[in-house]
């Protein structure tokens, strides 16, 4: 492979990648060099939705030549839109099925049927109950929780009306959705309807298709994902600021290393508890280990980081590398973004790959299905398996030194609190400093890693460029982990990387210039934060009025497309990097990149180069500042008594 091309932004990955090469491990990086993406599929120009195809309809190479249609006559626009929608359906399904699993455990916990799980955050329970339209007066906590659980579960299968959470959006936004007929009726229904509409011979107009894409995506962002976040917060605690460390250097030579990888916190929460159990610690000692070290990968990592400060070993593209250190006794996986290759990598070392979710098997892996009705024992069995594997560690263990400190835990509730304390909590200081220009705007930079581009490179270039221009960055998922590795999640980063205005605000509040808001279902936190900014006043009446933009510079998962779509439909200008899945269809791309803005105030965009991406986002932010009339310095207003009387 081409060695001159940089594969990683961080040293630890490079170091272990070199070990992988020495150990002849066939990683995602080696495969990426050998297997190029299909040029027709990646442009969205291939339809395999029926047995007459696959039909490939790329743009003709000779200018002026007539473009092919699918056998059924489907145009490139329809084909591309259908493909795009199916990505949304898969993404929304993934998030929402995660939400459903949480809701099921939540309801069982409320009924006291699953020992180990309980209501941890009663305040949030009450808030969520009210959002779901449940009267809380005079009811016991558990009764409220049961109702919340039932309502939450019912939301997935709801058939008509509107999902309750859309009411959390700004009023103006809700009206736009109603006007366009895209307010979700239920979660599952919208996903099913995508599958129906994109079946051979159903919806064959890209604008119509895209509306359903929006409806399904909204049922993710303002539905399944948001519920997942909220119910997890109630059960496991709403995140508060927490210190931890990130990168492969968090693995410990003398301890049993267990990596939790995947997305749902239901099991990982229990593994954390089990790992602190004196019996387990004793067992570890009896096997020659000095302790049990839990570290995370992907969004499971983010979940246990946010709530427990558990260190993170790495993001998506580091999953194979973590095993390659030779120091991992067990990698415990559940759902989403778990590479099948893990088993072949694990087989080269002593690592046990343990699949735990009924939905997710991997051929060859150890199967220990997690039973949430006996959660702690399930977890203990897994921890025991890891401990027992410790003596099998082979001689060549390489744990890189590189790890970075980070501060995480920036839930909406935390932001609200940290900006004003218990008595003045609000977003006011944020709004004020956006209005006065110290903060130019807000960017949500989220998403995955993508082996088609150097790990974290786009993310870091983009994020640094944004904060250098005084844009506060909110981040989640694997992007957040990338920022963490670079040290951008520390308050010290403000001084080093942020522009003077943003740095001053960071110093005032004591925050990093990049705020880690959680896992990828926690992108719902960004929606809530954006809404809170709108509601605090002075920056317009809708999310689309805010000087804000979104980006997924290294996306790869279908979930990212669903997320992007719900951000766009919520009024956010959203730029993706690496590749664009409708690039084969100019008309559809124009619809997504231009037309949507006239309807929803938000739109999609694409930029392969992170500098270009930053430029586009900043230009959008500046455009919004101008529309709000906050592009110029304002004079200090001094109040006399008459002015004070005018205050309503």
């Amino acid at each position: 492979m081409a060695e001159e091309k940089k594969l990683f932004a961080d040293k630890a990955s490079q170091e272990i990648y070199e070990k992988a090469c020495r150990d002849s491990i066939n990683t995602v990086f080696t495969k990426a060099a050998e297997l190029k993406p299909c040029p027709i599929g990646s442009a969205g120009d291939c339809c395999k939705n029926c047995g007459m195809g696959p039909c490939r309809v790329p743009e003709p190479k000779t200018p002026g030549a007539v473009r092919k249609l699918g056998l059924c006559g489907a145009t490139a626009e329809t084909i591309s839109a259908r493909n795009f929608l199916r990505m949304i359906a898969a993404g929304a399904a993934a998030h929402s099925d995660h939400g459903r699993a949480v809701a099921e455990t939540f309801l069982a916990a409320a009924k006291g049927a699953v020992p180990g799980y309980a209501i941890k955050d009663e305040q949030k329970l009450l808030a969520v109950a009210m959002d779901l339209g449940i009267t809380v007066e005079g009811k016991e906590t558990n009764a409220i929780a049961i109702e919340v659980g039932q309502k939450a579960l019912a939301l997935f299968g709801q058939q008509e009306g509107e999902i309750a959470y859309v009411k959390k959006a700004p009023q103006k936004r809700q009206e736009i959705w109603r006007r366009e007929g895209v307010t979700p009726r239920g979660v599952d229904r919208e996903i099913v309807e995508i599958m129906h509409r994109t079946h051979m011979g159903v919806d064959q107009d890209y604008r119509s298709l895209m509306k359903q894409g929006i409806r399904a995506a909204l049922s993710d962002g303002w539905g399944g994902s948001m519920l997942a976040t909220d119910l997890q917060d109630i059960m496991f605690g709403t995140p508060v600021p927490v210190y931890s460390e990130v990168n492969l250097g968090v693995l410990r030579k003398d301890e049993v290393n267990i990596i939790v990888h995947g997305h749902e916190p239901l099991l990982s929460e229990m593994i954390v508890i089990a790992s602190r159990d004196p019996q387990m610690l004793e067992l570890a000692r009896s096997h020659g280990a000095n302790g049990i070290n839990i570290a995370g990968i992907c969004c499971t990592a983010n979940e246990v980081l946010m709530r427990h400060g558990i260190p993170i070993a790495g993001n998506f593209l580091q999953q194979e590398l973590a095993i390659t250190t030779g120091a991992v006794e067990a990698m415990v996986v559940d759902v989403q973004c778990v590479m099948q290759s893990l088993q072949s990598v694990a087989s080269c070392y002593h690592t046990r790959l343990i699949t735990t979710n009924p939905k997710a098997h991997i051929t060859g892996a150890v199967r220990m299905v997690f039973n949430d009705h006996d959660a702690l024992n399930s977890a203990k069995a897994i921890v025991t398996a890891a401990i027992e594997n410790f003596p099998n560690r082979k001689s060549e263990v390489l744990i890189p030194k590189a790890k970075s400190p980070m501060i995480a835990g920036f839930s909406h509730e935390t932001i609200n609190y940290m900006l004003g304390g218990s008595f003045r909590s609000s977003y006011r200081p944020l709004n004020d400093n956006i209005i006065n220009g110290r903060i130019r705007g807000i960017a949500g930079v989220v998403g995955c890693n993508n082996a088609r581009t150097a790990l974290d490179n786009n993310t870091l270039e983009l994020v640094k460029e944004l904060i250098r221009h005084d844009v506060l960055v909110l981040t989640t998922g694997c992007t957040a982990i990338g920022c963490g590795k670079e040290g951008l999640l520390t308050p010290e980063a403000a001084r080093e990387f942020a522009g003077p205005g943003l740095a001053e605000v960071c110093e005032t509040v004591g925050i990093p210039p990049v705020l880690h808001m959680g896992s990828c279902v926690d992108n719902s936190r960004i929606l809530i934060a954006a809404t809170a900014v709108v509601k605090d006043g002075g920056l317009g009446n809708d999310i689309s009025d805010l000087p804000a933009a979104g980006a997924a510079p290294e996306w790869m998962s279908e979930k990212a497309i669903s997320i992007g779509q719900y951000f766009v439909a919520s009024g956010v200008y959203t730029v993706f990097g690496v590749t664009w899945p409708t690039s084969g269809s100019k008309e559809l791309t124009k619809h997504l990149f231009e037309e949507l803005e006239t309807i929803y105030g938000g739109r999609w965009d694409f930029a392969a180069d992170p500098k270009e991406m930053a430029k586009k986002m900043i230009a959008h932010i500046d455009k919004k500042r101008k529309e709000l009339g906050i592009d110029k310095a304002r004079e200090r207003v001094l109040f006399d008594m008459a002015d004070r009387r005018e205050l309503a």
């Binding site: 600021p241 927490v242 210190y243 400190p405 980070m406 501060i407 935390t414 609190y417 940290m418 900006l419 004003g420 304390g421 218990s422 008595f423 003045r424 909590s425 006011r428 200081p429 944020l430 004020d432 400093n433 006065n436 110290r438 520390t490 308050p491 010290e492 001053e504 605000v505 110093e507 005032t508 509040v509 004591g510 925050i511 200090r636 207003v637 001094l638 109040f639 006399d640 008594m641 008459a642 002015d643 004070r644 009387r645 205050l647 309503a648």
Partner: protein, 734 residues
Amino acid sequence: MSKIIASAAIRGAYKIVDRAEAEVKRAIDAYGPNRDVSFPNTNYYLPIIYGILGYKVQKLADMEHVIKVSRNLLPPPVKENHHLPYLGPTLDAGMATFFAEELIEAIKYIDNPAVYVPGEDPREDNLWLGAADDVIMRKRGVEFVDGTAPGFAAMLGAPTDPADAEKIALELQEKNLYVYMSANTDGRTMSQQLVDRGVQVGWPTRLVPFGSDVSATVFSIGFATRAAMSFGSVEPGDYRKILIYNKDRVFAFGITFGFVSDEWYANGAGCLNYGFPIITDTPTPQILPTGICTYEHVVSNVPHDSIVSRAIEVRGLKVTVSKVPVPVAYGPAFEGERVRGDDIYLEAGGGRTPAVELVVSADMNAVTDNKIEVVGPEITDVKPGSVLPMAIYVEVAGRQMQPDFEPILERQIHHLINYAQGIMHIGQRDIAWLRVSKQAVDKGFRMAHLGNILHAKLHQDFGKIFDKAQVTIYTDEAKVKEILEKARALYRQRDERIAGMTDEDTDPFYSCLLCQSFAPNHVCVVTPERTGLCGAYNWLDCKASYEINPTGPNQPVSKGAVLDARYGRWKGVDDFVAKASRGTVMTVDAYSIMRNPMTSCGCFECIAAILPLCNGIMTVDRDTPVMTPSGMKFTTLAGMVGGGNITPGFVGHSKYYITSKKFLYAEGGIKRLVWMPKALKEEIKERFDQRAADIGEPDLLEKIADETIGTTEEEVLNYITEKNHPVLKMEPLF
């Protein structure tokens, strides 16, 4: 550099909460958990704790809960590297500090009830005033409400040079701000520095020596907290509203002198919660981004000569200071200052010499604007300690001038002259009394300056209704007597005219929304027979104010159809009130206490309340801190009536209104009055007896009980039965 501030504030909060905890333990050990604890004469318990937490500290044992709450608020210390966000936690630490300090100060009152001097003035042996009681808070609060005082400066410590202290205090006074002083810098206190330099301190001069400990800062913040509850009608425990009310409406800030200790930082953090920024004179770190305060939070290293103007700018306050061409300082802050004994250079009136003040309108051609003349001896012509007769004769002319405005302008003379530093003025009309201090004379003050003041200020405040003003000061006895006679004739005419005005034959009435800066939903409707409840605005004042400022707080209210003559309801008034109260009050009875009595902001002179047992009504004035037969002191009553709410059975009113024909008209008028404080009875005796005679009850005042007779309903009932009070024969109130 906020991190340094946050770290220090959190450390300071720990120290203060630790200290409070130890004090509470010591006090409980020494006095027992059931020992009553309170600040003197207040209805607001320990006001910060009560306002923010809604929790009443009444016994020492109650303090343990507050300690627990404060501990829970204390965040972990800020780590050197990779620290967690600290703004919110620091603000919490600041609030915990205030809670703890209130406990510390309250325990001081138990340890030594004489630790602070009660009332408005320090004593020679004790400079410190401690907590303002509710009488002071209401009286001074009114000035915050009507804008005479836009806010306060909480001063911590003292500058090195006492001359700076004096200069800064004077500058703040000139900007109409209250100066609340606490804490000490290496043992120095600003209060002591001022006293040493001969500056009069105490509430009357707005230079308030609270205490020499930093914990005395809670008296400033307690005042602000009470303002939100009493004038802003914010419920105790509604902490967010209390804090935002202060941020938006109470223009206060902190100034620190010298080294800022951890404890001072902790107090500063507490102030930020209220939106009060901190200005320091040392190179401390700054916090410039906005958010909790309106503008900057902490601005440091400000030189003393610009610290006041910088503070005002940072707080976002607009102070319009009227420049008056006199050689002494000038402003409302000097109104309460006294000139006594050896300090007196010259005295006029006060029973020693005749003294009179008169404003008349004259023909445009007969008045030369800004002509100031002294006829008779000037100050320079007499020795220190002299007396002189005096007549202040003001002639004004202008197209908008009406004879009705003469008494309004004349009534200004008292406070306008009193605003001058070193000059004391009491009374009005032919009972005026003037004292000029030696200090003022040393600075060059002369009798002619009285003219300069009146010319400048009347033009500033009333320039819309007249064009020219000339002032003649007579100190020649013969001329004074001449003016006196002319004046008395005019006074009689005026009194007869205003006395002849009735609500029935007057339209429009006037609104007064002046207090909406503090009580956003309160509306006063001022009629010829019902003055504003503050006692400061009668119908003519409102009319003049409207002419001066047609878009100002006094608007004509067309009566419209009479809906109920007995209760005083008019269609036009109801419509106006509904709109101006932003829909919270839909109808008012101008003449009744029982149904929909008019709302109050909080600056009522008196509160009337029904006494069901007596079938009568009592009233109590702001200055009388005694228990009343309603079972409540004025302060408790005030807590119920203020804030723009309708409270049947209670009504705020002015002293003057008691003798109006329309007072309690719906309930039968002054015959319903069964109890009034003795001092109030004496104060209004003359007018009351007149009114009583008019209704055929010439000895009514004697039949009305007061606190020397009884402070329970039973006692009052016995008394009025014994005296055969006419209320006994009136129809039942219910």
